[in-house]
Symmetry: C2
């Protein structure tokens, strides 16, 4: 278990990409602590993020690099990149403007399971912009 | 895109499990907002979590349900389960005691990439317990 311990205790950044070459990244508002979204990065997306200081992910649906906000303008300025114990997940502390989710909310996590239910959600946020005006069909 | 819009705007909880039957779940301290860890749930783990009120994940390495804290005692009391726009990721707002990470830290995210580096990490937290005393070999 020397290798495992080394990954956990080391100050060497050795992110572990999965069988598809991807690592999950959680974007968290650096000021409020709100979890905004999760997405995936490949090595190139991570490198671009480090080099530019703006969050860039790998879009699995489009199979290409995706600078968050390139269309909507809602960029994510990366303040800090955290990695977990086994180095297979990242947290990006980001500075953002209002409206990070393409549905119109600040966070993608705008619904919560109702207490006592396993099927029904309640909306826990209000939309902060009209996505129809931002995203062209 | 009616189906996609329905998933995003609906109050029906329809979590999307991946090709391995898993959905990623982020445990976030309900009080401080700190991201503690990420893990995966299968349908059974999610059901047990909802039914018991304590976070239960699916261990990919052991291929079985894993009640967080069953060995260490560091349980996660689930206050709220959030789901994202496309319903393929969960955030669990949890109440926890000290020492959630098996390495000895409160959070698994105890290291951050050093500014200006793509290789070197700095430790941003102190250990809060001695894992050697908790986990038996």
């Amino acid at each position: 278990m020397a290798a495992k311990q080394n990954i956990e205790e080391s100050s060497e950044f050795t992110p572990k990409f999965d069988e598809n070459g991807l690592i999950p990244a959680i974007a968290q508002d650096a000021k409020t602590g709100q979890v905004l979204m999760t997405a995936y990065m490949n090595r190139a997306a991570l490198d671009v993020t480090i080099q530019t200081g703006f969050a860039t992910y790998f879009s699995r649906s489009r199979q290409k690099l995706w600078k968050k906000g390139e269309e909507s303008g809602h960029l994510q300025k990366v303040e800090q990149i955290l990695v977990d114990c086994d180095q297979d997940c990242l947290v990006l502390k980001v500075t953002v403007d209002a409206g990070q989710c393409h549905v119109g909310y600040q966070s993608c996590f705008y619904r919560a399971l109702k207490t006592g239910s396993d099927k029904e959600l309640k909306f826990i946020a209000q939309k902060v912009y009209d996505p129809g005006k931002v995203y062209k069909k």
